[in-house]
């Protein structure tokens, strides 16, 4: 997934779309928007980002899951099998992005990139609803896909690269 921080206006539509699409219980969220301000007046910079599970290549949550409930499916998406999860919380502790939470029903829940929609050939709910079209979803392994082209031409970053997780959500910054 690629998110253009220059286009994001921080409206939180992605958050509401996700909560509606995935029946996320009240008070919880699988994605969220952050606003970071840096610099000192008059050279202040503002960055808006929609954040979620980074579906890391080297996912610590998958590594430390004692039952194998956390797993990576073909295509690279990190998912949790509800009835294999014992709710031990190890994956929550292991995530540098705090992207996971304990669902009120007990199992651990998080962003699935709307796996159920992808299977039908649709885009994730957050991507399809974004009013400024700042989010792009596609195949990073395909060099001709829209997101591969964006990453080739635009300056980008990932979150906490020093955590060594090799995240798969990229933020365009210039």
């Amino acid at each position: 997934m690629v998110i253009d921080t220059l286009k994001c206006v921080g409206c939180s539509d992605c958050v509401v779309a996700c909560q509606t699409e995935n029946d996320v219980p009240v008070g919880y969220c699988r994605d969220w928007v952050t606003e970071s301000v840096s610099g000192a007046y008059p050279t202040i910079e503002l960055e808006l980002k929609s954040e979620r599970c980074n579906h890391c290549e080297n996912a610590p949550c998958v590594r430390c899951c004692p039952t194998g409930a956390s797993h990576i499916v073909e295509g690279g998406i990190v998912l949790v099998t509800e009835n294999e999860c014992i709710g031990c919380g190890a994956c929550i502790e292991s995530c540098p992005y705090d992207a996971r939470f304990q669902h009120p029903d007990g199992y651990v829940d998080k962003c699935t990139f709307c796996h159920h929609r992808l299977e039908k050939g649709q885009q994730p709910a957050c991507v399809s609803v974004c009013p400024t079209k700042c989010m792009y979803f596609g195949d990073l392994d395909d060099p001709t896909s829209e997101i591969s082209e964006l990453l080739k031409t635009r300056k980008h970053k990932v979150l906490a690269p020093e955590a060594g997780t090799d995240p798969n959500v990229f933020y365009l910054i210039k």
């Binding site: 921080g10 939180s12 958050v15 008070g27 919880y28 969220c29 969220w32 928007v33 952050t34 606003e35 970071s36 301000v37 840096s38 610099g39 000192a40 808006l48 610590p60 590594r63 430390c64 899951c65 004692p66 039952t67 194998g68 409930a69 009835n83 294999e84 999860c85 014992i86 709710g87 031990c88 919380g89 190890a90 929550i92 502790e93 292991s94 995530c95 540098p96 705090d98 939470f101 304990q102 029903d105 007990g106 199992y107 651990v108 979150l159 906490a160 020093e162 955590a163 060594g164």
Partner: protein, 313 residues
Amino acid sequence: MEEEIFISGRNIPHIDPNLEVWHFPISLYLFLGGMAAGIIFFASLFTILKKEKEVPTAVKGAMIVAVIAISIGLVALMYDLTHLLYVWQLYMTVRIESPMSWGAWVLLIITIISFLWVFSYFSEMFPKFNLRFDFLKKIQLYLIKNRRTMALMLLPLSVILGVYTGILLSAFNARPLWNNAILGPLFLTSGLSTGAAAIILFSKNHFERKLFTKIDLALIVLELGLIIHMLMGMYAGSEVQLEALEILINGEFTVMFFVFVVILGLIFPALLEGVELMGFKVPSIVPALLILMGGLIFRMVMVEAGQITRYLY
């Protein structure tokens, strides 16, 4: 200056503003598991050395304490699971990369063997209690004959259990306070020390008390060295580790850590034990209880402080 805020009102229970997924039961389990590992280590070690007659409490009474501690620890662990009905999934797979997975297996095996161990000494400890069924007597006889085999299995398993209580935490690179390789040996040493303290607490045999006081004193010195090692390692670390260090030496948990763990839980009882070994009369219950208290508070500090530390991006 840099400031980052959630503007979509994120306030997930137990995650925001500070992670609080693991609570007191986990600290309690880490303490009880470590202590039990210590007791089991000494019981099996002295049995292998054929010195079990000289340390009666370690092989008998303290092993009852160990199995009770493990059982309470297991209940505490399960209490903190939020999807408890699926707990059997732990034993459907072995995942070497996940400390919790192999830890759960070791815990299961060590609990079973420890119960068998206590059963093998049962009639000796409680001669008035009659095992009514013949097959129980046969099993007990078989276990008594194979005590050495049990000890040979328990010795490595107890070391793994002791190390595992530390590795469980150190395997998470997302929590910089936990993410140091010394935590495994440190928790093992602390577990052995609390195990020795528990044996001292229940022992009525003067020779045994003195022996374990010596062992415990050596372990405390080692543990203090490892703690300094851990702090120095973080001090020489990256920004996230420096932030983690800050919590222990100049932050929320400084008093808990230095006063209750380092001074009251390690240095003061070590001094008392030293004075006792020099021949002065010190009620040995005092250092033993302080060490046990220090061990529990150490786990609480590490579990709670560790969850506050994180990567900032």
